[in-house]
């Protein structure tokens, strides 16, 4: 198994943190993982993206020819990365910000009403946690406990956010599993 997930959005949406949570969770579960973030002046432009690769075998390249999953947090990110998704891949959309769908017909699309779900979980600030929960559940990347563990490892020392974030992750899981 080798899964590449591209996360993309604008600065402040916690895009890199999503990738970091997934990477930590996967590592703790014993998988191999690479996390490659955008950096430097690219960030000043206000966009942020990262690619996370998970595998049960040794990972050769941390950059892939294609992504199996694209997590698009805003419109421009969808436009930019849509063409890089593999045939039959999954595009997960932040429905609260993206009002149009991908043009591609050969991929699966999963829209998540992030802001609403995050509010239900306790705060809009947990939107990225809802998203990572939803993505992991949708494609069985990691079980809920491992995502939560990954979050705790990724945010070591910031314990005061653990409760809210855990609720966010749970909310994402429930949405992906029940559609509600």
């Amino acid at each position: 198994m080798l899964v590449r997930t591209q996360f993309a959005g604008f600065g402040g949406q916690g895009v890199l943190l999503m990738g970091y949570v997934l990477s930590n969770g996967a590592m703790l579960k014993g998988l191999n993982v690479t996390f490659f973030p955008s950096y430097g002046a690219e960030m000043r432009g206000g966009t942020a993206n990262c690619m996370v690769t998970l595998s049960d075998k040794k990972i050769a390249s941390p950059v892939g020819s294609q992504a199996d999953i694209l997590v698009a947090m805003n419109g421009p990110s969808l436009d930019k990365f849509e063409p890089t998704v593999a045939k039959g891949g999954l595009i997960v959309l932040n429905q609260s910000l993206i009002k149009w769908g991908p043009k591609r017909q050969d991929v699966e699309v999963f829209s998540v009403p992030l802001v609403d779900l995050a509010r239900e979980a306790g705060s809009e600030r947990a939107a990225n946690m809802v998203m990572i929960g939803a993505v992991c559940a949708k494609r069985d990347l990691l079980p809920l406990e491992d995502v939560v563990k990954g979050m705790q490892a990724a945010m070591k020392g910031k314990d005061k956010f653990f409760a809210l974030n855990t609720k966010g992750i749970q909310r994402g899981f429930t949405f992906a599993q029940t559609g509600k």
Binding site: G40, A41, R44, G45
Partner: protein, 255 residues
């Protein structure tokens, strides 16, 4: 055409290209660019000007300024400018440099250009931090200021004290005009423009090296709102870098 032509009171100076810059909201670079451009326009210097941008957030200044410019390696702007001015003494030569560029890696070039009295105008943007590389300590970072390489705040013993390069340059015989202004208020900006004009006049009159230091907000790396960053300059930065004339041997009346 019977209607009288409207008098244009505000618009884009010709010395600035009609493009959007990449500077963050509230950044001092945008204001400084405008002031430089206005002064060049008003003094009719644009077509004679050859500029040297820094390596720093203003590295792309050649995309914004509407006159000839050549890139220099990090810190070497005044050496490059010296070469230009010596070959083309009739051109108007200016450098535009950040604090890292001018007062860290380029210190030697800066001191020696000033000391030689090169007929160059230097615009020095002091934002007390490394903007482009993401908020490391600058030579001008003030005591206590938290940066990514002084996570516990700058301490004199471990990191050195903030360098007041403008006052150091004042010792150089060849430097004839040095003034420190600020970009964090309307009043400050007005004074800054006056200083830049005067600095340019020094070169036009062939008197020597001129430099205007501009205290400039970098809200992004200070992790502040633009307003907080402006206040920080008033409340903190100016204690280390008081505004005002630092050196003037021009003999101009307007002192």
């Amino acid at each position: 055409m019977s209607a009288p032509a409207a008098e244009k009171i505000f618009g884009r100076p010709e010395s600035l290209k009609d493009v959007a810059t990449h500077y963050c909201p509230g950044c001092g670079h945008s204001v400084a660019h405008r002031l430089v451009a206005e002064c060049l326009d008003e003094m009719g210097l644009r077509e004679k000007t050859i500029g040297v941008p820094p390596v720093g957030c203003a590295v792309l200044a050649y995309n914004y300024f509407n006159f000839d410019m050549v890139e220099a390696p990090h810190g070497r702007a005044l050496a490059v400018a010296t070469g230009i001015k010596r070959v083309r003494p009739d051109s108007f030569v200016l450098t535009y440099q950040g604090d890292g560029d001018l007062a860290a890696i380029g210190t030697a070039e800066t001191i020696h250009a000033a000391n030689r009295g090169e007929l160059i105008s230097c615009i020095f943007i002091n934002n007390a931090i490394y903007g482009m590389t993401g908020g490391q300590m600058a030579p001008t970072t003030i005591i206590g200021e938290v940066t990514t390489t002084t996570p516990g705040g700058r301490e004199a013993k471990a990191h050195g004290s903030p360098i007041d390069i403008s006052r150091m340059l004042a010792v150089c015989e060849g430097a004839v005009y040095i003034e420190r202004c600020t970009l964090n208020s309307f009043k400050g900006i007005k004074q800054a423009k006056k200083a830049i004009r005067k600095c340019f006049q020094v070169q036009v009159d062939g008197l020597g090296f001129g430099l205007v230091e501009l205290l400039s907000p970098c809200p992004t790396n200070m992790k502040m709102s633009p307003k907080q960053a402006w206040q920080w300059i008033d409340n903190q930065m100016m204690k280390t870098y008081p505004l005002g004339l630092i050196k003037d041997t021009t003999g101009y009346e307007d002192k």
